[in-house]
Symmetry: C2
Subunit: 697 residues, 2 copies
């Protein structure tokens, strides 16, 4: 699945990637800025004229799911298409007792039947404004790293506050090229999002973890929502027209979505740190969580239902991280990275002025890794919260910090509490979605054990957090003695401000208070001693590259809207040709070979209708376009800007794309627009939806 | 499952446990030596007269499965009963293409139909001889630790060689009380072991990983073998008579088996080291292996079959280790350990002579942990082979070392290559059991990744072992270019001696050669700087305890025959009474509640026969007797020495028994003799077997 993984966000230190290879114009690499698209490249390589109108239309038809996915408008009435796995949590939360929309699917046959999600926020990018000069002018050369970081945070918050006040649009200053550029992104925000249609989990995620990141693939990974305004379906002026035929081999296509993070221009020292410190820790964390969730799921059907969205997310992250790790363990990839780095350093060293301006960057980054290694696990466990896995602690942490941060001017707050972000944060914080105490207890106990596993049982933080109890006993007493599962209680505490928080004897609030000073200290250390040092050093490297190779290259991914392009094309594995598309019939063949064991048991609807289906109808297809986690749900469009598919995954050869782009075998995988339409018509009898997609409504 | 786990053996440093609490005579704690049984205690507590004849009979009816389990003779014709999970590997290896005895069960209706296992060795203890004085006399006070260790190894090997020559019996000098005593154990060995009967996996391991280490439980975890001599069923003079009625609540029972290892008398520093270094590493290893094997199993039914015995073993170890870890994370357990330790140290400190003789032990052990921490992971990865998981490397390692070690006098060899052990080792080494290249590749690639995950990608050993390739590529080339899957090739290399090994260009032999010097250096460091230091220090502590508390206490477990005793008794959890026994009907109820999902889908035979069954018939029961991994398959006998059940597991409260014995909730779990008989009669129609068990054949 191509959703932003929890960890890739948690560990992302977004950095610049500028092509170094001479042949870069021949590759389809790149997650391009909408305000700096690859016009010449597209003209030259594919004879495609990228017009402003084409681009604006695609931009405003593209949607960001604020919790980690992408999507698009596919009708003028706010109809929004994303992946089933992006909609999964909502499907789960919307299922009343006795129903299971996640497993069994859902279809609204009228507006009235569309179900309002408790906490989905969608963003649609309206404009991008260059603010680099203003941000840079706030940071003076003589400042210490800690002062520089504070000044930059302050000016960014101020720009966002002004913009919000003026436009009422969600306003985020985005750091591009790791500080080379700062752009202000303004989004229209939708918070009334309703479920329209979802197929069964058994076909949306056919093949499950086994086939995740694999191809050939047979997934109807789609989910339809609709955005509402003032209680009525919103008018979405910009939407993608549906291509009933979809793509064929050799077609040029575009992917418009929100890739989460890439690390392609990291220095070798940083990559070695990831390989030897960050990823081993992250893999241990994911495997520990996965083992725990599998255990929990086996308690019974109810527990399996509670845990499954966590479980899929964790399994997906484990697989993605494993792929990344394997990439970094490959001496050939590291050798290529080292060669590129040495090439750049040699060029710089040959020119005294350049050497003076940029030469110190690599050592500074290497030194920062040594600093980071000393407290990275503590930082991840205590500040990023890996030691306190679960909804209840996250809520408590926000309440405790909100009370403290709100008392400060916006510019001085921890960044997630800046004025311009508060509405989104509170929307999430006060979500009425149910919280399962049994699962929370188990997750928290596991996380506390993981804390001790990493820091040791005598570590002062462990002793303090355990408070003389075993992890299981401590977790049980924390979960059983908090009222934060109730949104009303959260609102009450939030409204009471610092006094209410200070006086609360809620167990989870007490835990969040207990470790807040430690957590903030770790964050400060990270921001000042690592993040700021890296930011300045990477900015040096970025300028060096601008100097040497020019400025027309896209920055690393930052979970903001990007345009990728590529060609619909199959590939070879071990001498076997894999075609560009799979078919409905292929799904039945794969199920048959796997003896219909889970996760290969097709939905009853599919099994019953097999004889009536056109088994040659296309289901999934692959292209060379450059995607990463966060692109889940991204529309794939053709030259005419029509919807021809929806991205949902990479193949395993694409898992190293965090670090290097290749297109020999690496592909992203999408659901075919003809396949979606065919399934809606033939299997789901979703006539209303089909009419709307075809513009006949 | 109560089999010896790979890791508990790998990490075991067997140590002494002497009771410290004043009330120890009131507890059922203890895995007692057969040559020093708790006669007075049994007389006093249960008014039971333990006679020499009773004890000898039980000893010679008890069987050790050399690869990690226990069992017993249950007829005069060599019929041997153990757990299904102890027989699992044989069931797997014996299944011809198209058959699956592991999944579907097996029943031989005549001697001719009994199937010979490729590599099962059974040991039956014949005698125990005290050799402490001779061992100790070889070690002089002025020796350095390395000299002391070598001298002790030499004299032990010499004693074993003499005994083997004289008696032709397998002869092992066993270190008890971590060096307080040395006993020579002589075993009759059976290597012609044939499969007689196994039920379906679905009832043998009903509830799977979910119910493993849980109670109430509903497992028919049995498997019948028969030992042969000279091609005919062996005459087993000592065998256990079957109790058709089995035990009821309050009965005193005895468990005779081979507990693998316990660590009850370790110092607090050692336990902290386990908690903070050894167990976190081991948990990460188990979770990594488990994730890998689950992935592999999902490739398809064939792969699932290949991987399942590995998967069950790993999942079992993961669960057992998690339980141990949770025990050590419990501040209450650590506080109790610390209190006991301080009590002993205070008593010693009060007496200058004792202080002088024993007082330094604790610091020496603590220091040894600091030394160990510096290379423990390297030792585990390189010498214990965690970096090279799979049959092929294990074979290569043995071939390379055999060639070198055989050239030395037995007394100077690495201990596993001493003359008295060679026959067993070669029996395993030349096993014709199939080796699956696909699984070997995946396991080896995973293990190489785990190596890098722990040591870092730049570690000289990692660089050397990877040889410029990624883990997957390196593993594939290693597995694809070795011929060691063929037993004839192994025999040829073994017969060729050092010259053949030195000249071999077999990929796996080359790998084993490549790292042998490193591995041996790590082993030497472990044996000299940790093991020997600990051995001497623990021997001091043992003598201190003898001084203070007397000598009539059992040593820690060492995978040698022990006698435990206890009472058949239910217990309470969260105020709910759990009865001492479960029933056939209970299995159906549990399956129903779990909607017959795997691992709760009962075998068809059971489902079809439900209406004909006496659902009140007993299936499993629990007792307070003291068991640990390795006791799997141990017979449970009544006062009359009759077979009343077969141990197969502990409950989760018993998982801390590595460190402390409790009997408030901790229980071992056994299959009821009446339940076994009833199932054989009613469900399996195993008439020949039933007649034999009832002595009517």
């Amino acid at each position: 699945m191509n959703r932003v993984s929890v960890l890739s966000v948690a560990f992302a230190v977004s950095v610049v990637w500028i092509f170094m290879r001479e042949d870069h114009v021949h590759s389809d690499e790149g997650m391009w800025l909408f305000n700096n698209p690859p016009r010449e490249l597209l003209k030259k390589k594919y004879n495609f004229d990228l017009t402003d109108a084409w681009l604006e239309h695609l931009q405003k038809a593209s949607v960001r799911f604020n919790d980690g996915g992408s999507g698009s408008f596919v009708s003028p009435n706010g109809l929004t298409l994303t992946n089933h796995h992006v909609g999964a949590e909502s499907l789960q939360k919307l299922s009343p007792k006795g129903k299971d929309y996640y497993r069994d699917g859902f279809l609204a046959t009228s507006f009235e039947e569309e179900l309002k999600c408790p906490d989905v926020e969608l963003n649609v990018l309206q404009s991008i404004e260059e603010v680099t000069a203003r941000v840079n002018s706030a940071v003076k050369p003589e400042m210490l790293p800690s002062q520089a970081a504070a000044a930059r945070r302050a000016v960014m918050a101020e720009i966002e506050r002004e913009s919000l006040e003026k436009t009422k649009l969600r306003s985020d200053v985005v750091t591009l090229y790791q500080g080379g550029l700062y752009h202000l992104y303004r989004y229209k925000k939708y918070t009334d999002v309703r479920l329209v249609m979802a197929p069964e989990h058994g076909i949306a995620f056919f093949g499950g973890d086994t086939d995740n990141f694999e191809y050939p693939r047979f997934d109807l990974d789609v989910c339809f929502f609709r955005v509402y305004e003032n209680g009525k379906p919103a008018h979405s002026e910009h939407y993608l027209k549906w291509s009933s035929e979809g793509p064929i081999e050799g077609d040029v296509v575009f992917v418009s979505g929100h890739p989460g993070s890439t690390n392609r221009m990291e220095t070798v020292a940083k990559l070695q740190h990831r390989r030897d410190t960050t990823l081993p820790y992250a893999l241990n964390l994911m495997r520990a969580r996965e083992a725990l969730l599998i255990q929990f799921s086996e308690r019974g059907p109810e527990q399996a239902k509670m845990a499954r969205s966590d479980l899929y997310r964790v399994a997906n992250a484990r697989k993605a991280l494993t792929g990344q790790y394997q990439g970094l363990l490959d001496p050939a990839i590291m050798a290529r990275k080292l060669e590129e780095e040495n090439g750049l350093i040699n060029k710089i060293s040959a020119d005294p002025a350049k050497k003076d301006a940029y030469g110190s960057a690599w050592q500074r980054i290497a030194d920062a890794q040594k600093t980071l290694a000393q407290f990275e696990h503590e930082y991840a466990l205590i500040e990023q919260g890996h030691a306190f896995d679960g909804h209840l602690f996250r809520i408590a942490r926000h309440l405790v910090r909100l009370a403290e941060e709100k008392a400060k001017p916006s510019a001085q707050r921890l960044r997630e509490y800046r004025d311009s972000n508060l509405e989104s944060l509170e929307f999430e914080l006060f979500s009425p979605a149910p919280i399962h105490a049994e699962l929370e207890r188990v997750k928290l106990a596991g996380a506390l054990s993981f804390l001790a596993q990493n820091l040791g049982g005598e570590h002062p933080l462990v002793v303090k957090i355990f408070a003389g109890q075993s992890p299981a006993a401590r977790a049980a007493s924390l979960v059983d003695r908090t009222k934060l599962a109730d949104p009303a209680e959260r609102r009450k505490l939030a409204a009471g401000g610092k006094e209410a928080i200070d006086q609360s004897d809620d167990s989870m609030i007490r835990l969040a208070r207990l470790i807040d000073a430690d957590a903030r200290a770790l964050r400060k250390q990270f921001e000042n001693e690592v993040e700021e040092v890296e930011r300045q050093a990477y900015a040096q490297i970025a300028r060096a590259r601008f100097d040497l190779y020019g400025t027309s290259q896209p920055p690393d991914a930052t979970f903001t809207l990007r345009l990728a392009f590529g060609v619909v094309r199959g590939y070879q594995v071990d001498g076997v040709d894999l075609p560009y598309t799979t078919t409905f019939g292929g799904a039945f063949e794969r199920a048959e070979r796997q003896q219909y064991r889970e996760p290969f048991g097709l939905p009853k609807r599919w099994l019953d209708s097999k004889d009536k289906l056109d088994l040659a109808a296309p289901l999934n297809f692959v292209t060379t376009a450059d995607t990463i986690g966060g692109n889940s749900g991204s529309p794939v469009v053709n030259r005419a800007g029509e919807f021809v598919g929806i991205n949902f995954d990479r193949n395993r050869h694409g898992l190293v794309r965090n670090f290097v782009y290749t297109d020999e075998q690496a592909r992203h995988i999408a659901v075919h627009s003809r396949g979606i339409l065919y399934a809606l018509q033939t299997l789901y009898h979703a006539d209303r939806l089909v009419q709307e997609l075809l513009g006949k409504q």
